[in-house]
């Protein structure tokens, strides 16, 4: 394994690990605040129990997210010092804003987790709101920095040096809006369906359980709107990359030849050697229609770039197809659940719907991972699109396979422990129609 590949693998592995916790850290506070608000309004003990248990899970996941995020901020310099030497002054702004947002999040999470008996119920709820808002804000800031790597603006490059640096213009890069919208909705959809799916599974066994019924309700209220809006934000993102990162779109859609009226290829395996996609199903004019809202629009193919500037086409295409398929499934389940709720049906007794939701548990997270693969792999060989190649950014230190393997082992162990702890917490969920273990008096704010 070359040092460049080791560095990319370490960065990719660190991001793949962190993104799960980051996404949960954005959405979970919204769920726990919603449950707490219900408790304050209706005084049903199930809501308080739910808020406390979700807060407990959030505490573990947030901490792992925080430390793995710290690793990433250092890895920017440990693995990509030359990238940071150029990009630091240009995209440091969103990172610094993220630093402050993350600070706010950590402060109010402390108040929320430890303040049940220390601050007024009102202050406690607002602390939760502050966690939810600053969590979403820090996600947005980090994604803005990533968007700049895809659509770099706000500087001029002269002799390898960035001059006329305009940090605000760099933040307002063309990819920022599409990416932040898509990622934020993904966080709510993935986490919401992740939580809803677990409780749906438990409801299949114990349909009368008030605890799981309420949990399913709150989680779906977050997940379903996000999953329904996601295709719209996906359309915005798709049209954005069609204009600003055409090679990424060409790889994602496996378009080898620039053409007007390009078809949409569903499935299929792109064969780079013969420049053909085999086994796919073509929908005529589909891609031109999607990417430009015009059936005869010209879609740039991979032939517009020399082959050494192509990303790994089969990997990007596969990841993209998986993301779209899973996102479509989540939107479909969201419509189904919304329809049943509109009919005022008892969701907890709709066994097929519960099965569909249970099946969705991991799907949002897989969609997040594959979507992120499309963004990052699709930009290769560039680390800053059109400006700096990844190979020119890597640290000169040899032997990078050692840190890669070390951090991989560390994260594997952590991942197993987190899953085990969450599993134990879930199996100890309150049982029966009452759905609660503790008397309402205990721990009431």
């Amino acid at each position: 394994m070359s040092d460049l590949l080791s560095a990319r693998a370490q960065m990719g592995m660190s991001l793949a690990f962190h993104i799960v916790f980051a996404v949960i850290g954005i959405a979970m506070p919204l769920l726990m605040v919603a449950a707490e608000r219900r408790w304050q309004l209706y005084r049903h003990p199930v809501d308080l129990e739910l808020a406390k248990r979700w807060a407990k899970g959030t505490a573990i996941l947030f901490a792992v997210g925080a430390v793995s995020g710290t690793v990433l901020s250092f890895e920017l310099g440990l693995l990509w010092p030359r990238f940071m030497a150029l990009a630091g002054p240009i995209i440091g702004m969103p990172f610094s804003l993220e630093g402050f947002a993350f600070f706010t999040e950590a402060i109010f999470l402390g108040v929320y987790l430890y303040g049940w008996d220390r601050v007024s119920p009102r202050a406690h709820l607002w602390a939760g709101v502050a966690v939810a808002v600053s969590g979403a804000a820090s996600g947005v800031f980090v994604v803005i920095a990533n968007a700049w790597m895809n659509a770099p603006t706000g500087f001029e490059l002269v002799g390898g040096q960035a001059i006329h640096v305009r940090p605000f213009a760099a933040m307002a890069n063309p990819a920022a809006l599409a990416q932040t919208l898509h990622m934020t909705l993904a966080a709510y959809a993935a986490t919401g369906f992740g939580v809803a799916g677990i409780h749906a599974l438990l409801l299949l066994r114990d349909p009368a359980n008030a605890f799981h019924r309420r949990a399913l309700e709150v989680a779906l209220l977050v997940a379903a709107p996000a999953a329904l809006l996601q295709p719209i934000s996906g359309d915005i993102a798709g049209r954005q990359i069609a204009r600003h990162q055409p090679i990424k779109l060409a790889a994602a859609e496996a378009v080898f030849v620039t053409q007007r009226g390009a078809p949409l290829t569903i499935g299929g395996w792109p064969d780079v050697a013969t420049r053909r996609t085999r086994f796919g199903v073509d929908i005529p004019y589909g891609l031109s229609l999607l990417a430009f809202h015009d059936p005869h629009a010209e879609v740039v193919g991979l032939d517009a770039a020399p082959p050494d500037e192509w990303p790994n086409v089969p990997a990007v295409h596969l990841a993209f197809q998986v993301m779209v398929a899973l996102g479509t499934y989540l939107a479909f389940v969201a419509v189904w659940a919304a329809w049943q709720a509109w009919r005022r049906a008892d969701l907890a007794r709709q066994r097929w719907l519960l099965r569909a939701i249970a099946l969705a548990t991991p799907m949002g997270f897989v969609a997040v991972e594959t979507g992120w693969l499309v963004t990052e792999l699709g930009r290769q060989p560039w680390i800053i699109y059109g400006v700096m190649k990844t190979a020119d950014a890597v640290t000169p230190m040899p032997g990078l396979i050692v840190p890669f393997l070390t951090f991989t082992l560390l994260y594997c162990v952590l991942g197993v422990i987190v899953c085990w702890l969450l599993y134990r917490q879930i199996v100890r969920s309150p049982a029966g129609p009452g759905g609660q273990l503790h008397s309402p008096a205990r721990g009431a704010p």
Partner: protein, 340 residues
């Protein structure tokens, strides 16, 4: 004073806050490891309760310092990441293990007998011991001025470039100094957090012991600096501000020890924090105007003025959110009123 100097000052201020707050959390882990006597479990409980609500916020100071560094002094960040890859990676592993183990311990479900699993607590405590050593060692390597330009070129001897700069007696002594300083801060703070006389006395003894050990660690580092970091040593002993700074540090140190002796916990906390801060600023002034000695100066590595100006705006706006929020956090959990 230039914009770049202000930015460098802000970074060092964040590091200072990290040492006083995040450092004390590491120190707490050290005292968990060395908890002894009949009140062992109550000591551990006190430490965990003192850290619980604040440790994540305290940790963010480090992230803030790093982010400000790569924004304002990208070349310095790039060289640090390259030449200190090994100790920084080790510190990261320590940070990951410390934080994760602490929440696994406090938030993982208790076992069937309602006891919190001790294995997480041990992992937390050991990581709390190792991380400050490594962080201090990197600080020592920076202060020693061994991270020159020659090393950041490809090729050359691996050991000479990536290991030798930080694996020196001086850098390791600074690591020990950081560990003792963090343990000292933690013990001093814990005298104030303790809810009963017995625990107050336990941590008073530890604080006094650590305070004396800190003198020893400082003397050792200063002695080794003669060979490894002569520049910083000369500035510390003979620089234009050396005398007032030395006097202030000594006064703070003696005040801290005297306050501990006479059980004036609040005064001891202020004096101990001042003492550690003076030492840190002594280091900063000792290498000024270099941000990464020997050759990278604040002026030469500073980001363009547009970036520095924007950063200043972000800092001011961020501080307007951060300061009240932090004040609220510490008022709620460290406000002095003790819940039984």
């Amino acid at each position: 004073m230039t914009l770049a100097t202000v930015a460098a000052g802000a970074i060092f201020l964040a590091l200072n806050a990290y040492a006083l707050l995040g450092g004390a959390d590491f120190g707490g882990g050290v005292w968990d490891l060395f908890a002894s006597g009949p009140h062992r479990e109550r000591q551990r409980e006190l430490i965990a309760e003192a850290m619980g609500p604040v440790w994540e916020a305290n940790h963010v100071w480090l992230i803030l310092a790093i982010v400000l560094l790569f924004t304002c002094f990208p070349a310095a960040f790039a060289r640090l990441g390259t030449l200190l890859h090994i100790p920084l990676s080790l510190a990261l592993i320590g940070i990951v293990l410390r934080g994760s183990a602490f929440t696994f311990w406090r938030y993982g479900d208790a076992g069937p007998d309602d006891a919190r699993p001790r294995r997480w607590a041990v992992m937390f405590a050991v990581a709390s011991l190792v991380t400050p050593l490594v962080l201090g060692t990197t600080a020592g390597a920076i202060a020693a001025g061994r991270l020159g330009a020659a090393g950041s070129r490809p090729g050359g001897d691996f050991y000479a470039i990536y290991v030798a700069p930080w694996l020196t007696p001086f850098a390791l002594a600074v690591g020990v100094f950081a560990l003792v300083a963090f343990a000292f801060l933690a013990a001093v703070y814990l005298t104030l957090e303790a809810r009963d006389r017995e625990l107050e006395e336990v941590f008073r003894r530890r604080a006094l012991g650590a305070g004396v050990a800190l003198f020893g660690a400082a003397a050792l580092a200063l002695f080794l600096a003669q060979r490894d970091a002569p520049r910083v040593r000369d500035m510390l002993l003979a620089g234009p501000w050396a005398m007032p700074l030395q006097l202030a540090t000594a006064a703070a140190a003696l005040t801290a020890l005297a306050a501990l002796w006479y059980r004036r916990w609040a005064l001891a906390r202020v004096a101990a924090a001042a003492q550690v801060s003076f030492i840190l600023w002594g280091w900063a002034l000792g290498q000024y105007p270099a941000i990464l000695p020997p050759d990278l100066t604040i002026a030469a590595t500073a980001a363009p003025p547009a970036t520095l100006g924007a950063m200043l705006v972000v800092l001011v706006v961020g501080a307007m959110v951060l300061v009240p929020a932090l004040a609220y956090l510490f008022r709620v959990f460290k406000g002095g009123e003790r819940t039984a």
